[in-house]
């Protein structure tokens, strides 16, 4: 018999995945990585880069934790990393770690709000 917490987690994961599927359809979205302690779902336009993107997603979240701890800024809400053409939005929502890769022109603030 599943505990109430587990059911809540599963429901939350489903809701997030639905939101991410909608986001994925938007123009300029390269893909996303959603993971919790038990599972991970990855949807990227270029599947050959899954490992690199997964490592980057994890490192970005760790870097966010390290920097906010060092600079005494409390828990991380969001991390946005920008390169010449690409942008990464990483965040934690309850038990989930989430990273969305997108083209630089995409409004990451809008995405961030829609996922909270």
């Amino acid at each position: 018999m599943k505990s109430i917490k587990t059911e809540e987690q599963e429901s939350e994961t489903e809701i997030l995945q639905e939101k991410l599927q909608t986001i994925k359809e938007q123009e300029g979205i390269i893909g996303y990585i959603l993971r919790n302690s038990k599972s991970a779902s990855i949807d990227l336009k270029d599947p050959t880069k899954i490992i690199e993107y997964a490592v980057l997603s994890s490192t970005a979240l760790d870097t966010g934790d390290d920097m906010t701890e060092t600079l005494q800024l409390g828990e991380v809400d969001t991390i946005v990393l920008e390169t010449e053409e690409t942008k990464l939005l990483s965040m934690k929502t309850n038990d989930h770690s989430l990273s969305i890769f997108m083209e630089k022109t995409v409004d990451h603030n809008k995405l961030s709000k829609s996922l909270k």
Binding site: Y53, T68, L71, L73, V76, T78, L81, T83
Partner: protein
């Protein structure tokens, strides 16, 4: 202006910026090759090094999507911004109240302007004549005269330590060497306005050493319309 002078100038600038923006907690600058140049007074070295270590790791992993231009981390109590400016990264740690427009002003206007000003101080829009030498012509004759001019080793050594001030600014900021390893070519200008660029090597005649002389192959001297004893202006080409 040497590296220490830059560090002091930037430290002062960052400290003054912090006074103007009370919501700015920490600010410091490091180079692309991960050397800390300067931080304002309140930020200790351990903090800067820890942030730098975290960044270094992320930078390496981020190569898969390109070179990092900006990082914005939003925390419960404040934010961190890392922005690439020229060959450097500026780190700003702020409270939640810091206005994004102010952050933009610091990263895109104030600090770039300060860096540009430093360059201007170093290179005040005057032609760089510090490397130019007035030398007395001697001609090289004979079958083995070749096509290269010969100049005193001391002058060549002097040139390798006396290059473009803009390169020195960049070197001071980035910590990278700016001194050319050797001079292979020189630009020669006669007082009648004839010019040429030609190969250069160390003078092999002990008698002309230390006499501010340039030995020019006879054929080249003729084409420049100069003879033994004339003066020419010579400057190195990296």
């Amino acid at each position: 202006m040497n590296r220490d002078s830059y560090a002091i100038a930037l430290k002062t600038a960052l400290t003054e910026i912090q006074k103007a923006y009370p919501d700015l907690n920490h600010s410091f600058i490091f180079t692309q090759n991960e050397n800390i140049i300067s931080g304002e007074q309140e930020t200790d070295e351990n903090t800067m090094n820890t942030v730098l270590d975290s960044f270094e790791n992320l930078k390496e992993k981020a190569e898969t999507i390109g070179e990092i231009k900006d990082i914005h981390i939003t925390g419960k109590k404040g934010n961190v911004t890392l922005s690439k400016i020229n060959d450097m990264y500026l780190v700003l740690s702020t409270t939640k109240n810091m206005n994004n427009t102010h952050i933009y002003a610091i990263t895109h206007v104030i600090i770039p302007t300060i860096l540009k000003t430093m360059e201007t101080i170093e290179s005040p829009h005057l032609p760089d004549t510090s490397t130019q030498k007035k030398l007395v012509v001697d001609t090289l004759t004979g079958f083995f005269a070749g096509d290269a001019v010969q100049i005193d080793t001391e002058i060549l050594d002097d040139w390798t330590q006396n290059n473009d001030p803009r390169a020195r600014v960049k070197a001071a900021i980035t910590g990278e060497p700016a001194i050319p390893e050797e001079i292979n070519q020189v630009h020669i200008e006669t007082f009648s306005g004839n010019t040429t660029v030609c190969k250069v090597k160390e003078v092999d005649d002990q008698n002309v050493k230390g006499k501010n002389m340039i030995k020019i192959p006879e054929k080249l001297a003729k084409s420049l319309e100069i003879t033994k004893g004339d003066m020419v202006m010579v400057k190195p080409i990296d």
